[in-house]
Subunit: 158 residues, 2 copies
């Protein structure tokens, strides 16, 4: 399965390391330029713009995110704005051999992380939350979807 699915809770150790869930690692490797056989998995982290959480991207997914830039003149202010918004606060990383990443201190602070974190899959990307906040957000999202009767109609029951 090439998508990030499910929620996984892992511990943040004394050095600020967390294991990336195994299933997420396999997605990251598959969506990397290096290929699936790689020993480590590349990924990109950035603070979410709409929530107090960290957003995780695959290498290829993040590259695609920057693609719209090609529609603008290299020296336009739009190009400048977009480039900065997307790349300015992103930070590329690799897991270590054990499949862990070291979360940057500023992102830890931004998401209010303490000793445990949850990884929540959202299809092409995933999010890293402080467990309680993540649970709240998940419940909120489900409620919103139900309230809006968003088009889950295709073959599904609301």
């Amino acid at each position: 399965m090439g998508l990030f699915i499910g929620t996984h809770q892992n511990k943040l150790d004394a050095k600020g390391r967390v294991s990336v869930p195994a299933s997420f690692r396999s997605v990251l490797k598959k969506m990397s330029n290096a290929g699936e056989g790689a020993l480590v998995a590349p990924l990109v982290l950035r603070p979410s713009h709409q929530h107090p959480c960290i957003e995780g991207w695959t290498e290829k997914g993040f590259e695609a995110l920057g693609a719209p830039l090609d529609n603008y003149d290299q020296f336009s202010t739009e190009h400048d704005d977009i480039a900065m918004a997307i790349f300015g606060d992103a930070c590329p990383m690799e897991t270590d051999k054990e499949g862990r990443i070291q979360l940057p201190a500023d992102l830890v602070a931004y998401a209010g992380l303490t000793d445990s974190v949850v990884f929540i899959g959202t299809s092409k990307t995933f999010q890293i939350w402080e467990p309680a906040a993540g649970a709240r957000r998940l419940a909120e999202a489900k409620a919103a979807v139900r309230a809006a009767q968003m088009t889950l109609r295709t073959g599904a029951r609301a």
Copy 2:
């Protein structure tokens, strides 16, 4: 037959494993990307939004469930809500060679499962219930249909 039909009761063993009914397995294989000849059957489990039971999806069915995402801008709140609601609490699995799955502890708790479970087919998906609760729900559904005089006539929608 490409649909989930009937109710089947199976045991949950000490390790939290249950055999997926053979007829359900064949549906799962048919509706997978791997093809029918596969040794194991892929499926997706998620907590039901309206009942204390576990919902089971085929691989293709679940992909269709996520398809509406493409109608929204990647950074819209709708996309955000839907992605989290659908993917956040789903969990993809495969049967083992014997046709069993290991139910995640949180789903077991959510559905109140103990030592036996019933699989109830509901056409494109199926549900996993604690036997007594499942029986109650089945009776309730039948009563509701009768009370509403829902004619199950072709295409009739109460």
